[in-house]
Subunit: 366 residues, 4 copies
């Protein structure tokens, strides 16, 4: 399948839907039978990306209630496709003539027109952030599978603008205790002040999200192209607004020497451990059993009140000020999206690894 709205090979998701159409949804195919699933589990994650929770996200009120349409029977997955739908309810039938007519800087308005000849301009259409609802819903199912395998994800805001968390203050219980998903409570106030100042200026900012995966089995990742880090990079980079991805030491590794960057092995009892984890848990594209660490660079929200220069479809130069319900920063709402994409990728790669050894296949069939 080469069509673009599908991700994953054995645990596979297909998303559909436009921002102001009938709804958005996802079909999950390849979810094994026998997993407890209900709408409440999925709703928990959807609520994490819900807007309107604080001054730092758009004041739009979207209920975003998910409905399971298929693939679950008597509270358990049946092994058949799971169709999940969120109906759009808050799309005010407003006048779109303006937005239809010009190209917002930093958005996909122009490129959709160039690719398809025209676009559904209502609320950004398919390029809207609402597209991630399907990802998060599917991610909740993926996380349910990871939980059954004791694999844990921790995802958080690592920096906003130039303000970074202090690793010494890291406390994962803080992540959902503040509006910015910061795991360091000492930098919350400073960061909020920074964003508020930008809001006053009609401007926006970006940041870095980190996802850590604990207890992932070793051996996950398919050399040479479908490496674990390669698949995770695609997954993360496919999220709107992401402009960079790194694993472990990432870009910093380029200014280290080999002796600084290599993780040395030691025996601990009859277990092999690494003295450091600069590699971020992946060597040769395959998980080594230590913590997988991946980071995403999120650009500043492109929709800003500040005056911007752009052009109309009729080729006129104009100035615009985007007034409306927009997030001054996407980062906090994107945390659960990043986590969802990592979870979906991990499940797919866990499944794909099974046939790497004949012994595994015999375990199933003999």
């Amino acid at each position: 399948m080469s069509t673009g709205s599908n991700f994953g090979k054995l645990f596979s998701i297909s998303t559909w839907g436009e921002s102001h159409g009938e709804g958005v949804g996802v079909v999950i195919d390849g979810c094994p039978s026998g997993i407890d699933l209900n709408e409440e589990i999925i709703q928990i994650d959807l609520d994490k990306r819900k807007p309107g929770k604080s001054i730092f996200s758009t004041p739009r009120k979207e209920k975003d209630k998910v409905k399971i349409m298929s693939g679950v029977f008597n509270g358990k997955t049946t092994g058949t496709p799971i169709s999940l739908i969120v109906h759009n309810v808050n799309h005010i039938s407003k006048d779109y003539s303006k937005i239809a007519n010009y190209y917002r800087p930093g958005h996909a308005d122009l490129t959709y027109d160039l690719k398809y000849g025209f676009r559904d301009y209502r609320g950004g259409g398919r390029s809207s952030g609402r597209e991630t609802i399907g990802r998060v819903a599917a991610g909740a199912v993926a996380k349910k599978i990871l939980k059954e395998l004791n694999i844990k994800l921790t995802t958080f805001t690592k920096s906003i603008g130039n303000i970074s968390i202090n690793p010494d203050n890291f406390d994962k219980h803080e992540i959902w205790n503040n509006n910015l998903c910061l795991p360091d409570k000492t930098c919350v106030q400073k960061t909020e002040d920074y964003i508020l100042e930008l809001i006053n200026q009609g401007d926006s900012c970006g940041g870095i999200i980190e996802c850590q995966v604990d207890c992932i089995p070793p051996g996950i990742g398919e050399p040479v192209f479908d490496r674990l880090d390669a698949e995770l990079s695609k997954a993360i980079m496919s999220i709107g607004s992401v402009k960079g991805v790194e694993i472990g030491n990432g870009f910093m590794t380029t200014s280290l020497t080999g002796s600084e960057n290599n993780d040395f092995y030691r025996c601990s009892g009859n277990k092999i451990i690494k003295e450091s984890n600069n590699a971020g848990g992946i060597l040769g594209g395959i998980s080594d059993g230590s913590k997988v660490v991946i980071r995403a660079a999120i650009k500043p929200t492109p929709s800003i009140k500040k005056t911007q220069k752009t052009v109309t479809k009729d080729n006129d130069n104009i100035d615009i000020n985007i007034i409306g319900r927009h997030d001054p920063i996407i980062v906090p709402r994107a945390v659960i999206v990043v986590e969802s994409m990592v979870a979906i990728t991990l499940v797919d790669m866990l499944f794909r690894n099974i046939t790497s050894q004949m012994n595994n296949i015999k375990k199933i069939y003999l």
Copy 2:
């Protein structure tokens, strides 16, 4: 196909081969008929990754001569699979008992054992850098296609260790005039000195490679998962030693504001141009017609003479000093590998875009 050694959906490559086996190769499927192709064209790129050209790469002498086994008739591609083979000739039948028995830090020795139960340890087996020969050979074919479409790639070393090129001195004609693929001749000496010092210390270093794509048509990239930037990220991250990928402003974008980062549109005649290119030529995962810019972070070569701590398969802690023919820096030899993966990805995405509009299909069949 979910097996890992295959890349691309319409222009698709399958690589095979181990470092010290019979040879390495690639099968290209989906190459259109009617393209002039011969071994010389491919050999030019293979020679760019050939080792032994300077003190900065391994003194191994590998001829790496490519042979076209199928898919070309009377000097033209036939539309059927193109099989390319490079026979291994310089694999000295030496004693591998040592390397077979311990895990080199920073290499995939341990993870291959964990995944497959054992490994072909001769010269790194499948995880060796020789695996990239297939990529470069296929990349040469992809670049031939891009050339017919007037699309140009420029790939170079942007930084080594903490030394970066000065953009003001950028001269693309310098790239292949020095041993390090630096497009800024003013920093060549300084960089060589830095690496020589590390060689003396038995250490190694990494760096950043940048690839720029000029004249790519707008509209390339398949939302929402198979975005152009997502596919490029996977392609780049699938190269051994790459630990980070970024598009346009990349990670730097996280410390900019929306008004600083957005690229404003202006009309120039009846053409829309952007006043800046912070986005790196991609918006919403689709090319906008401006220069595509992608960067890869390459880690320092893991094989170093300096003493390292590791473990044996029998669970003993040992110290090792890796003596042998190794690159003190991978970056210059990786430049053509990065360029190849970008070229292969672009061809695939150009092909995939064609069916985005019914008008295109009518152009072919009516």
Copy 3:
């Protein structure tokens, strides 16, 4: 994607839904932008598979009204995924305890339990004929694309039991003039009598469906595995109740000699024509420009009133008589399903062929 509920690579459909769940649906990805589409067009084909139209199909009344959820804007496809839903309305909340407990001969009850550990037994769950609603809805979209390319499909009942149509009486306008999709009005009465007799005996029958494709361009089909005939065979065999597929002369070809079976070429002006079409329009897996002919063998409906021997989940031997709303013959309702699968396959293969020649790619981009 290796998950089973997805078909097609460039024009790709993913179906979901169980017989008595919330609904059934399909997501079409890879439909080009710019095609006129509305619910009425799709409904026409859905109504052709609707039950309850005559004594020869189940008296269940299903409205099966389709709703377009995404991918269409202002009456035109946008190039983004088209999500189509048919809500289930006629699933009476009856007592399923009986059917849950035993395995109906000729059905998938046992194999679903063996594969997944349990099954949604309500109305056959995912293995119900209602699963084909998604195929027919997607097929209607595919047929819209074929129409724009002037490709025509004619699909009909060729035989029921031992009664075959007489090719000399073939009249395609008769196909939808009788309840059995017979293009030969002289055999309608005889066939109806045969089925009525079987109904009286509590038994059922099968038959052969033929699909003819006119005006398909030459060159369609990807050697060597994804031949046009191979892809069509998979498409047809994936329909429940199909037990055989043949192209052109099919099985009859095995009793002909080479000189009888080869289609000779002649020049007609500057066009090459074939004197016969025993090959069914496909040579070497590639369309030759003449009529493509494919046939499907449909088994008798497995649900019958007549006493059958089977077993319960608790391993008891029992006798059953399946009383309910069942089709005495599936063939007429399957005609549109076969046509839909052929149409979907053709669109996919037409799209996939485009990149076979460099000239085609230049037509798009230069």
Copy 4:
């Protein structure tokens, strides 16, 4: 991957090569590690398709010696791609000007030209029967895996022309005891006489091949599109010269009633058995644990000495008599090809089924 020369999703093969080029080969990706493999095992099957063994096949002498280029170390598969090559040695550098200039009836000469603009006409190029060498080599590896899972294949000639084997005389040990792969020794002489008569007339014939699979686990096959029967049909129909495929009762089922065709279940101890196997071991696209039965209709060899009418590239009507080394019947040499494709499909589908239940996944990772 949508390129046509690739088959299978988890156990995946990519073939390459033309009849009179450098060689033909296959890359197998997704073969698990830890399987004993050497060239002798593969050669056994290749020798079964080797020509020149009797008067009933072409007198060409091809050694067709296979070489393992990668993916095997110390006699065991490593889990990395297995590249297999057979160099072409017997392609006499003859004058091809004649064959280059006209289109042989029943061959792919015309369709390759129509698809690709031109063709490698030497010996049929890519459309030659030599293409199946890669399939048979890969099939030998697949059969090695099936053997480790105790799954057995029996493949034979069921009919030639109008002469069928008598099921009462079936003896599988006879299959390789005669030149025609007939499992009924009582019909060998009659069939040989029939073919000899056709040889004398400069004509050819076809036949039916049957493959039976014993001991396949239940639950194999992915509803709804990637059913076991659908995947097998594609696999078989992708072999050159196959014009029809059927499962179990196949086309005969269309003249049976439901009560005749349904297989009734009975308990035998605590095992469920079927009283008959009209379904050919597959229900709802999923294996039921009984014997899988699939049949292929092979057309008569198109290359015949008898005068045929055809056209030249310059649009002249001509008469031709194809003199050369051709099989008067393809069936016996195709038996191992059919078996190979069934084996490859089964391995792929066995692998794909593993993730159907969460319990299986836990068995591997917990």
